[in-house]
């Protein structure tokens, strides 16, 4: 009886010792802060039910922690041989969303599961990174070739396009970030990125300026409004209102913040979506520069640890997976906080670990689990 138990406990010890505790600590602080900020910002959101959102967020933490543990234990390399199966599953799930999805905040990205809504595209972002990493490894000797780059771009374009059509521009961009991360670490030539960047710039100009000016609508009006609100300071439309309320919340927080009770912008609902995409503004108002800069610094530490794991990965496949996840975290953090402070367009990307929402929480925690698993095996050869 005692021997197996000893064996088990030593396995658990080894597992615990292999974790990146700094990264876990950072994630833990961000999660706790998220629940507190959700509580602050939604006290008056639903009359008679002040705890609705924070309770749900705490409930979401259960599958999120489970996902983290599962992926920390699971060896991601076991998925390496099946990129096409995974891609097929991802595309299938996204098509199911089109068939039976429900619309939340304008995007048909959710499917209902009991009292919760599931957003398959959130889980899909990890799947896509795994698919891209596996397919890049298959072509690692031809990584310099245009054929490889185009093939991988085409693979990513499928799900990204479906998501863009939901429409969820923000999520589609996260997929693109994952693609760039994988390609970049895999060693795709700089020239390819330069050409890609040029192509992207042309597309943006066409979609937002040239085509609309000749009367062809590529993006929806509200999307254009949201995308450009940060450029004109935000006047005269809903996106502008959102942005100016966000900046007011952050700026009025001052150096040390107004505290939970003094955060009028948040508490009295002047700032819409303050528990989801604009949660950073709540942090800025409640805790001021000290709190907001701390959150940015925590993400900096998270990225440092993620990059360290990328560098230390035992296999190149894992390295690419870690790099892709790292790129996505970096992109989400920069775009979300950037739009909160008025430096980036409003694209509807939640702040990882902090914003309210189950799917992105579970997916991001799973991604951390993947990183931890890679970290654990860094010396396992």
């Amino acid at each position: 009886m005692r021997v197996p138990r000893r064996a088990t406990s030593s396995g658990v010890r080894a597992f615990l010792a292999g974790l990146d505790w700094i990264m876990l600590a950072v994630v833990g602080v961000l999660l706790a802060l998220g629940v507190l900020m959700i509580k602050t910002s939604t006290t008056h959101a639903i009359a008679g039910n002040p705890g609705y959102f924070e309770t749900r967020q705490v409930i979401f933490l259960i599958p999120a922690v489970a996902a983290l543990l599962a992926f920390a234990i699971f060896d991601i390399r076991r998925l390496q041989p099946y990129p096409r199966v995974l891609l097929g599953g991802l595309l299938g799930a996204l098509l199911v969303v089109f068939a039976i999805g429900v619309t939340v905040r304008g995007a048909n990205a959710w499917i209902s599961v009991g009292p919760f809504q599931l957003q398959p595209s959130e889980f899909g972002k990890i799947a896509l990174v795994v698919v891209l990493a596996a397919m890049a490894i298959e072509r690692i000797d031809d990584i310099d070739l245009w054929r490889t780059t185009v093939t991988l771009c085409a693979v990513a374009a499928g799900p990204a396009l479906l998501i863009f059509l939901e429409p969820d521009l923000g999520m589609a961009l996260i997929y693109a970030a994952g693609l760039v991360g994988v390609l970049f670490i895999a060693g795709t030539p700089w020239k390819h990125f330069a050409v890609g960047a040029l192509g992207l710039a042309t597309t943006v100009l066409l979609a937002f300026w040239i085509l609309p000016s000749v009367g062809i609508r590529v993006v929806k009006g509200y999307q254009l409004e949201r995308m450009t609100a940060f450029l004109n300071g935000g006047h005269g439309n809903t996106a502008g209102y959102q942005l100016s309320q966000s900046k007011t919340a952050i700026g009025s927080g001052g150096a040390l913040g107004k505290g939970v009770s003094g955060a009028t912008q948040t508490v009295y609902n002047f700032l819409p979506e303050d528990h989801t995409d604009f949660i950073f503004a709540v942090v800025g108002e409640v805790f001021g520069f000290v709190g907001a800069a701390l959150v940015v610094a925590l993400f900096g530490i998270l990225l440092w640890r993620a990059l360290r794991i990328t560098a230390q990965a035992a296999t190149q496949f894992e390295q690419l997976v870690a790099g892709g996840i790292c790129a996505m975290f970096c992109f989400e953090m920069v775009v979300n906080i950037g739009m909160n402070v008025g430096l980036m367009p409003i694209t509807g990307i939640p702040l990882p670990f902090v914003s309210y929402g189950g799917s992105h929480l579970v997916a991001d925690m799973a991604a951390v689990g993947v990183l931890l698993s890679i970290h654990r095996r860094r010396l396992a050869i």
Binding site: F184, I250, G253, G288, A297, L307, I337
Partner: protein, 663 residues
């Protein structure tokens, strides 16, 4: 596949430790690039946060608090206006509901959408509401703009039911001015209204919020500083939909009701005067209006002041389509409904003769016992002047000349003033030797009396200078030069002389009270809501001595006695029956003033006082184009005196003028 990637080469780990897979330099560089990008992004965000939260924090904080703190104005009732007893309320307040909007909360396209929805509920157009909003926002963006005042109960119910559809719009409790006696004393009271754009700055400097009702005419405007209530203010925290959060206001100042203005108006006298004026104008078909003033000759306190036609002041403060039409009608009326005729100037006609007489007596140009011929016509300085109805009064002394109102007698007195003028100025048009004018000015003619009411007409005492200025461009000697006819016409209250009924009352008060020119006042006291006297308004300016020998005053008073009581008195038919029945003895003077336009009837004047031995009331009345003084104005004066407590008598004792022999 993974095994292929395993490198046998040693890593940085020490001996005995499992070694890490070595990093190829290209990958290491690329990871470093991502790290650099991430570090750069972190730095940019922190710098941005520093600028927003440390350097520009003040500005954002201000925006945040203007978001969340709303100043709710608590209305303050305006001070009441009462009669002299303090028991009759002439102006008070009734609660009303206004529709207001906060311009900053109603920006962009939402404003037009809401105004389009509101406009039909408020019986107006969205364009009008948008313009009101824009004006209010320019004036003071943080203050609510009044979109509609005093809405009906139905409107109130409909809007409050749908108020959720109108974020930024609120129903606000306020007070509306009310004039319970409607047209009574309208020209004295005036009315209130919203601060106009032109007045905005000066009111703002006095601490008004800009949305208050202020006095726009009459005593409401004159005593605005006392009547004004001071708005209370409550600062509350509100959420994004404008609903108050929490229960305790952040700060609160209670509203303060304005002070009560107590007038010297005696209600029975005021009502009698108004009734008399109305009745005279309605019964004399050609009359276009009437005005009257009754005052206490000792104190100058005005007991009654009225003008006809009159108006309904509530039309200005109670908004309805009907009232809007009514106000337009008043403002465009051909009979100048809004004009207070009691302080508007007219030729005084024969009512000016006592002033002429006293001037001549004081200047030594006339003696009380001097017998002067009063023929049917007389030629003076080459011009023939005729007596009223070509009557021949024979050789008469001053009292009788007043009794019968002999024009030819007074023409000769006027000619003596011409001689006086000529002895100084010669035949030049010099503005010297103006004793007739100087004496008239001593009685208060030619300048405002100092009445506490806006819009007083100073009247006119003509001088050579005045003629030169006003008729200089005609280059007609008779018009632009001072000629004998000017003194002669002025002596009988004609020519270019103009006086207001109020000036006549003040001049007669000086004759009646023994030579003191009083300053007439409508306001008596200002009392605060708890009853304490804040300020005394009447008797503040001491009377000015007339500087005329009291014996001369006695002679003229004797003449005025004969006018109303003597056998030949022009108004004795009206007043002698009163004295005969034991009522007060009235003295006074009739006037039948040519109005300039020959096609219209003369103005009918009477100015009198009572009782003769101890005057307590002076009444001056003019019936515009009312004809002969004794017929139109004298009975109205009689009826007014009858209503005043100290001289009270049965108004039916007032007789009729009988056969009119004189003016």
């Amino acid at each position: 596949m993974s095994s292929r990637l395993v490198s046998p080469a040693g890593g940085p780990g020490g001996p005995g430790r499992r070694r890490q897979r070595p990093l190829n330099p290209r990958t290491a560089f690329r990871i470093a690039v991502i790290g650099g990008v991430a570090l750069g992004a972190v730095c940019i965000l922190v710098v941005r946060l520093w600028f927003m939260q440390v350097i520009d924090a003040q500005g954002y904080a201000q925006v945040a608090s203007s978001n969340a703190i709303r100043t709710v104005v608590v209305p303050a009732p305006r001070g009441f206006i009462t009669d002299r007893s303090g028991r009759v309320v002439l102006a008070d307040d009734v609660p009303s509901v206004n529709v207001v909007a906060f311009p900053l909360e109603l920006a962009g396209a939402r404003r037009l959408t809401e105004m389009r929805m509101l406009a039909p509920l408020l019986h107006t157009s969205a364009t009008h509401l948008m313009r009101t909003m824009a004006r209010g926002q320019t004036a003071s963006p943080y203050e609510p703009v009044v979109l509609a005042e005093n809405i009906s109960a139905t409107q109130r119910a409909v809007i409050s039911e749908r108020i959720r559809q109108f974020p930024g719009v609120e129903l606000e409790n306020a007070y509306r001015r009310n004039y319970p006696l409607k047209t009574t004393a309208a020209h004295i009271l005036g009315y209130t209204g919203l601060i106009t754009q032109a007045e905005y700055k000066s009111y703002l400097a006095k601490g008004y919020s800009g949305t208050e009702q202020v006095g726009q005419a009459g005593l409401e405007a004159q005593y605005e500083q006392y009547l004004r209530g001071v708005l209370g203010q409550t600062q509350v925290e509100v959420d994004a939909s404008g609903d108050p959060v929490g229960t305790a206001p952040l700060s609160s100042t209670p509203p303060v009701q304005g002070d009560t203005l107590q007038l010297s108006i005696d209600m029975p006298t005021q009502l009698a005067l108004e009734a008399e004026l109305r009745q005279r104008v309605l019964s004399i078909g050609r009359a276009t209006g009437a005005a009257g003033v009754a005052l206490d000759p000792k104190t100058g306190q005005i007991l009654a002041m009225a003008s006809y036609p009159t108006y309904e002041p509530n039309a200005f403060v109670q908004h309805s389509p009907h009232n809007t039409r009514l106000v337009t009608q008043y403002e465009t009326s051909k009979t100048f409904t809004l004009l207070n005729r009691a302080i508007n100037s007219y030729p005084p006609g024969s009512t000016f003769k006592p002033v002429t007489a006293l001037s001549a007596l004081q200047l030594g140009r006339l003696s009380a016992n001097e017998l002067i011929d009063g023929p049917s016509e007389i030629k003076l300085s080459g011009t023939v002047f005729t007596n009223f109805q070509k009557e021949n009064n024979g050789l008469i002394k001053l009292p009788v000349a007043l009794e019968v109102s002999s024009d030819t007698y007074f023409y000769q007195v006027g000619y003596r003033f011409w001689q006086l003028h000529q002895s100084v100025a010669g035949l030049t048009n010099a503005n010297t030797g103006l004793q007739q004018q100087t004496m008239a000015e001593r009685f208060g003619f030619g300048s405002t009396t100092g009445l506490d009411l806006p819009g007083e007409d100073p009247g006119r005492v003509p001088t050579p200078k005045w003629k030169a200025i006003n008729f200089g461009n005609t280059h007609t000697y008779l018009l632009d030069h001072w000629i004998p006819g000017d003194n002669i016409n002025m002596a009988v209250g004609q020519g270019n002389l103009l006086a207001t009924p109020l000036q006549m009352a003040v001049a007669y008060a000086a004759i009646a009270n023994g030579g003191n020119v009083v300053t007439p006042t409508l306001g008596k006291t200002v009392t605060n809501p708890s009853g304490g006297v804040v300020r005394q308004l009447s008797g503040v300016t001491p009377p000015r001595p007339l500087g005329i020998n009291s014996a001369f005053l006695g002679v003229v008073r004797q003449g005025m006695f004969l006018v109303a009581q003597g056998g030949q008195g022009t108004a004795s038919g009206v007043f002698s029956p009163v004295a005969a029945a034991g009522g007060p003895v009235v003295a006074g003077k009739t006037g039948t003033a040519q109005s300039g336009t020959k096609s219209q009837a003369d103005h009918s004047w009477f100015v009198g006082f009572a009782p003769f031995n101890n005057p307590k009331i002076v009444v001056a009345i003019i019936i515009e184009h009312g004809g002969v003084g004794a017929i139109g104005a004298a009975p109205a004066v009689c009826g007014t005196i009858a209503a005043y407590g100290p001289t009270k008598f049965n108004p039916h004792l007032c007789g009729s003028a009988g056969a009119v022999k004189s003016n």
